[in-house]
């Protein structure tokens, strides 16, 4: 971490004081996904075109209202990356035919939930990377199919309760590693972010905007509705995800993975889990030591392999 990156964002004070994304949207009160999106939107700016796969954020634009200042297009859950190819091609044709000035060009952005990004839309996304499509993919990861009542998805963490994984053990599967799935395609840029770490987030968006090609911004998005906690805890829970090491903040660029924030003294996973109703069954009626331990060991194993 010797190469000091040149950035406009050194402290929280450097973050924008006015916000570009319109308020008045239909996201839940306290939505961690919306928090991340408005921070990201401030940096990407209004010359952007969003291709949105079905999910909670589809409801950002409900005719005749939109919070976006640029364009927005809605696609089916599996097809946002294909939609992005279409609009990128259309923009390129307009540029080539000189029907659009070079400075009117727009950043093409896919916006999808984890249901699309980790599952239904993965095939179209993989193909878009294969074609080296010039786009940014933002996934707000609320670890389930939020819009339809929080069924489990490929992003649901081990042991979490969802509406399709109840009982004393919760979800029996494991969260997919989308960061590595993307990195294996050798795209331009892959980064994890979270709205509760806005400086780290701003720097990563700033960097992504200076690059071309496929770029992923994977935002863990605390969701009061699906994760079952008081909306005012959204930021606190996000910070705990980082402090416990459950959500590593990192980036992949030029073939290398670098962690952008090393939790000095990692808190125990308890601090994160016990704040959320979706993990209640790990503590009530009795503490499930075995399952909590498994989660802790998983996190410890991850960090034991991190050398910076």
């Amino acid at each position: 971490m010797n190469d000091k990156p040149v950035t406009l964002y050194r402290h929280m004070k450097d973050l924008p004081s006015t916000h570009l994304l319109g308020s008045g949207t239909a996201m839940c009160s306290g939505c961690g996904g919306l928090e991340a999106l408005h921070e990201i939107y401030d940096i990407i700016g209004e010359k952007s075109l969003y291709v949105n796969a079905a999910g909670c954020m589809t409801l950002l634009s409900v005719y005749p209202f939109t919070p976006f200042r640029g364009s927005w297009l809605y696609t089916a859950m599996a097809s946002a990356a294909a939609g992005a190819q279409g609009v990128r091609d259309a923009l390129d044709i307009l540029l080539e035919k000189k029907q659009m000035k070079a400075d009117e060009d727009m950043q093409v952005v896919v916006l999808s939930g984890d249901g699309s990004a980790y599952g239904m839309g993965l095939s179209a996304t993989s193909s878009a990377m294969e074609r080296n499509l010039d786009f940014i993919y933002i996934c707000y990861d609320n670890e389930g199919y939020g819009n339809t009542g929080q069924q489990y998805s490929g992003a649901t963490p081990h042991a979490a309760r969802t509406s399709t994984s109840k009982g004393s053990s919760g979800f029996r599967g494991f969260k997919k590693d989308l960061f590595s799935i993307w990195a294996a395609h050798k795209p331009t840029y892959v980064a994890t972010v979270i709205g509760s770490e806005p400086v780290d987030l701003a720097r990563k968006i700033e960097k992504a905007m200076q690059l071309k090609g496929p770029r992923l911004i994977l935002a863990l998005s605390p969701c009061p509705t699906g994760w079952d906690y008081d909306p005012q805890d959204s930021v606190e829970i996000g910070k705990l995800a980082v402090k416990t090491g459950i959500w590593p903040l990192k980036e992949y660029v030029d073939g290398k993975v670098r962690h952008t924030k090393l939790p000095k003294q990692r808190l125990s996973v308890d601090e994160y889990l016990k704040r959320q109703g979706r993990f209640n069954h790990l503590y009530q009626p009795d503490r499930n030591d075995k399952l909590i331990n498994e989660i802790q060991i998983d996190v410890d194993d991850y960090w034991s392999e991190v050398v910076e």
Binding site: S29, G30, D233, V235
Partner: protein, 315 residues
Amino acid sequence: MYRIRFHGRGGQGMKTASRILGTAFFLEGYEVQDAPRYGAERRGAPIFAYVRAAKQTIHERGVIQQPDLVIIADESLASVSSAGTLIGIDKHCVLLIVSNESPESWKHRLNLDCTVLTLAYEQLDIHQISYAGIVCTGAAARLTGIISNETLQRAIKQELAAFDESVVANNLHQALDAYKKMAEHEACVQKSQEISADNYQAPEWITLPFDDANISAPAIHASANSVQIKTGLWRSFRPVIDYQHCKHCWWICSTYCPDGAINVDDSGQPQIDYDHCKGCMVCVAQCPSHAISIIPEQQAEVAAPEVTAIPGDKR
């Protein structure tokens, strides 16, 4: 048949309230329909749920248009026209509002000639918000005169089986308290006849001419016009900044606010845009100098005039 409609906000437990009432009717030997209805909005936004219960097969479908009992869990919704709380209320209907004001005042204010009842609450507590629904279930059960105390308890235990004991106990306590308070109005709700298909009045459709895609496609040619939607109406509590203690570190509250509803004025002071603040209270939790407090919306309406939003961005 009984037709009962519950109005509240996402997060107040209205869906569960109607579900439990439905189960209670079922346990009393009724055939039941119960359904929640949400619009595009979410937690904090107006939602409603409804129950039909009858001794014979229920043929009616869809949202209840002619209710026998309407319960409004959050009195601030009565004035929100998009919440549709008053739809179909006629003379025969009973309206119960959770409110500390008198039934007469509501009757006058809403210009209604039906029976209006109120259920007083003690102190508004933001942490008790999810119990708003169960209070309504308890009250509704008594008002129908059909559901016994024991059945109500069974229905609650059955529907909340997945929750821990303390949650169930709290729900029972709240429901039974409301059940007791409604004793003098027991069985005041009158059931009504099923609406017959013979009397069905078809809606007045308007047939639109076929237009080209560039005209008929729902394209929005505006920039950030979502600000016209006042999501501030979702709130039942509001955060208030005490400028005596505010250290002007706007980058904290203004950045964390999920809705971008905290703007910074020219003097570097954060200003909450109450037209759009949904009342999540993330700012309250994150303010390092504890300069933001929470007050019930009703209190704020009397105390301070609405602060107008600082329009858009200045970049």
